[in-house]
Every structure is written in C-alpha cells, then in structure tokens.
C-alpha cells in the first residue's frame, strides 16, 4: 500500500511538478480557452447572420439569392471534416499568416457558424407566426419585427442547443495540434512523450476539460432558468 502510494506520488511529481510542468498545462489550457471563446463568438455572429440570410425571401416569397449563398456555405462546412478545414486554412488560405491562434479562431468560427445557423434558424421558426403577423400589421418593418419581437423570443429556444454547440466546440479545439499550436491536449501528449509516462498527463488533461465543461454547463443552466422565469412573470 505504502509502495503504491509512493509510486503514484512520484508519477504525479513527474507529470505536474518537476520542471514546473503545471505551468505548461495552464498555458495549454489558456490557448484552448482563447481559441474556443473567440471562435464561439465568431460562430454566433456568423450563425445569426447566415440564419437570417437563409430565412430571407424575395418579393414573390421564394428563396432569395442570400438564402442560396447561405445554403452553399452550410453544405460546404458540414460536408467536410473540421480537421481538414483547419489544415486548409493553415496551409493554403492563410499560408502567410504566422499567428496560429488567429487561423484557428477563424477556422473554428467559420465551422461553428454553419451549425449555429441551423440552430438559430430553428429557434426563429419556433416562434409563433402570429407574432410576426401582429408586428407587421402594426406597420413595423420586417427588420423591426425581427429585432424587437422575434429574436428576443428565439434566444430562449436556442439556448440549450447553443450550449451543446459551445461544448462540442471547446473539445473540438483539441485538433489544433495539427497546425503546431500547443493547446491543452497537445501539452499533455508532449509531456507524456518526454517523461515516458502517459497516465497522469492524459488523465489530468481529461479532468481539466471535464471541470471546465461542467462549469460551462452550470452557467448555461442558470442563464436558461433566468430567461424562462421572465416567461411567467
């Protein structure tokens, strides 16, 4: 028992303490969070715009040219692996850019936007059509009706799937090792190959991801409950 305990403590020392390795995890986590956070915001902006494009109609109530463009974007993004999109962004489109984080944020943001667009579109369509009709019948324009009446109600509908998307995005950033960025996953794998001990670094990284996502989940739950409450005032 004593021997086992000493062995674990030694492994822990190697994985986290000696050479101040814990600082590497922190810096890796920082990169992960930075990319995930900025990409989530970019994805939200792109997704909302694309959702509105996809819902736009022309005078005769048919799909507008904007809706067609939105469809092509969504098809392209959802039809290809995100690792490949990241590699294409890094080695082809932004070849001359040396800022890896920027490339990753753009790549993940554009990727996430396609999924967010469908979520937001569903959220808007779930708002009763009568709300739009009432707004328009009062003389409000399409845009005014959307901003003051439909979007505030759509936000409540989209919160659970958007939370889902954020969680997926956060974990998806683990692939940035492909373009030589040192995020949390890359850090763990580098340390395990340097120390020839895989257990502690990998399990440690997993625990960190888990805790971060648990915190995110709790925050999203709180926000959702607050928005629901305003429904029954």
């Amino acid at each position: 028992m004593q021997a086992w305990f000493e062995r674990v403590s030694e492994l822990f020392q190697i994985a986290f303490v000696s050479g101040d390795r814990w600082k590497l995890y922190i810096s890796g986590l920082g990169t992960t969070l930075e990319i995930a956070f900025l990409a989530a915001i970019l994805g939200l902006i792109i997704g909302t715009i694309v959702a509105l494009m996809k819902l736009s109609t022309n005078r005769r109530g048919k799909k507008s040219i904007w809706a067609r463009i939105a469809n092509v974007y969504i098809d392209l993004i959802r039809g290809t692996p995100s690792v490949l999109q990241l590699l294409i962004m890094w080695f082809i489109i932004m070849k001359s850019c040396k800022n890896g984080v920027l490339v990753a944020v753009l790549s993940f943001g554009i990727n996430s936007g396609a999924y967010v667009a469908e979520i937001v579109r569903a959220g808007i369509l779930a708002v009763d059509k009568g709300q739009t009709e009432a707004g328009r019948s009062l003389g409000l324009s399409k845009t005014q009706t959307m901003i003051y009446i439909i979007l505030p109600q759509a936000i409540k509908n989209v919160l659970p799937p958007i939370g889902n998307e954020f969680i997926v995005l956060l974990k998806e950033t683990a692939i940035v090792g492909y373009v030589s960025l040192t995020d949390l996953t890359r850090t763990a794998s580098q340390i395990s190959s340097r120390t020839y001990e895989a257990f502690m670094p990998l399990i440690g990284a997993a625990v960190i991801y888990f805790v971060i996502i648990k915190i995110l989940t709790v925050l999203l739950d709180k926000l959702e409950r607050r928005l629901r409450k305003s429904d029954n005032r």
Partner: protein
C-alpha cells in the same frame, strides 16, 4: 374608403378567393360571415396584405395598395388588425406591447405614447394590467389589450379576424362590449365572426361569403329575416 376589385387568391392549386368585389365606406361596420373555408379570413388578410393577392386591386383612401411599389408598412399604420389568437408580444409587458409600434415608428414620443396607452387601457378597464405580461392575462383580457394595441396607432379602419373564436364563452361578452363601444365611436370596422347577435346589432352591412365570393350582402334586418339565396338560408338555419 376601401375598394376591392376582382380579388383572387390562390394557395398553390387551392383557389380560395374567386373574384371578390366590394366597396367599404367611411364609418361602416361590415360583418362577414360564412362557413369555414369560404375565404372570409383570407379576404380580410388580403386587405392589409398579410396575404398577397394573386390578382385584383385593393384601393385604400384613393391609393392602389396592391401596387408592388407601395410601402405597405406605411399603409398598415392606418389599418388596425385584431387576430383570433390575440398575438400579444410574449416578450413585452402590456405597456410595451401597446407603445412599441407608435414609438419605434416615430409617430409619438415615449411619454405621449404611454399616456395614450393608459387612457385606452382605462377605457377597456385594464389600467392596472399595464405592467403585467401577456402570460398572466385571461383570453378576454388579452383580446381587449390587442384591440387597445391597434387603437394606439390611431387607425382609420379596424379589421377583426374572428376575435372571439378562441375565447371561453364567458369571456366573449367583455370583448364584444369593447367592440360595440368602438363601433359607437364611429370607427370603420370590418369584422369576420360567428357572433350572429353582434352582426345583427352592430353591423351596418352583413356579407355572406361562400366558395370564395360574396354571395349575399344586405342590411342586418333583411339579411337575417329575408335571406335570398338557398345557400344562405341553409347556413342560417344551421347556426341560428
């Protein structure tokens, strides 16, 4: 005030309106009745272009509003509409429901709109609900608020699309009372309804729609006591 010429509306293969012609004068209270699927709601919704007519003309105050170049938002400012399902904005308080359009369309200052809203709310007996939310109100209260919301725009005509059909029977009266009072104040009204008592009492003209056309049109007394077409006689014998 409103002139409708040879109005047609098709939903894909479904030919709902098959040539409606009518002339509404200032101050008239037109009540439209007919079996479901007769096109009466579609007719009403075409008047403020919530449905785009397939063909035909609609003139409002001398303006051809079916012309694609017309700014329909401007036209709708002058046409109030009340829906079967109330359609109050769920995310806004009663006060904001009423003041949103006049303020955002820059027709009134915020304070002025609030004052107007309060006096209208008082008129329908719901002043104390100004800070409530739609989910806290009964159906009858919601519909009275919906009427107030339209009136806050100072419309020249009010369209009612089966305003009491979604209400519990005990709440129908309070909404009809508000509509009667509105009629007495001289408002031009077009009402699609199944309330025959209201048609008889308040209407200046009653229209019977069936199969996408206006089959019969008359003063309430003649309409109910002396129906001419066989179709209307059958309909009345079922509903009265």
């Amino acid at each position: 005030m409103i002139i409708v010429k040879d109005l047609h509306k098709k939903f894909d293969d479904n030919h709902v309106l098959r040539g409606v012609n009518y002339h509404v004068h200032q101050g008239e209270k037109i009540v439209v009745i007919g079996p479901s699927g007769s096109g009466k709601s579609t007719f009403l919704r075409c008047l403020n272009l919530l449905e785009t007519p397939t063909s035909g003309e609609i003139w409002f105050d001398g303006q051809l509003i079916t012309d694609p170049k017309v700014n329909i938002d401007k036209v709708r400012e002058h046409m109030g509409m009340v829906f079967q399902n109330f359609n109050l904005f769920n995310n806004l308080s009663i006060m904001d429901n009423i003041t949103l359009a006049p303020v955002k369309l820059k027709l009134m200052e915020k304070d002025e709109a609030k004052e107007k809203a309060l006096s209208l709310l008082e008129r329908v007996g719901l002043k104390e609900k100004a800070d409530s939310y739609p989910s806290q109100l009964s159906g009858g209260q919601k519909q009275r608020i919906a009427i107030v919301r339209s009136l806050a725009m100072n419309p020249r005509v009010m369209l009612f699309d089966e305003p009491t059909s979604a209400l519990d029977p005990e709440m129908v009266g309070e909404v009809l009372d508000v509509m009667k009072e509105l009629a007495e104040s001289g408002m031009t009204m077009i009402v699609v309804t199944h309330e025959m008592g209201f048609a008889r009492e308040v209407g200046t003209k009653v229209l019977f729609m069936d199969e996408g056309v206006i089959m019969e049109e008359n003063t309430p007394a003649e309409f109910f006591n002396n129906p001419k077409s066989q179709r209307l006689q059958d309909f009345l014998s079922k509903v009265l």
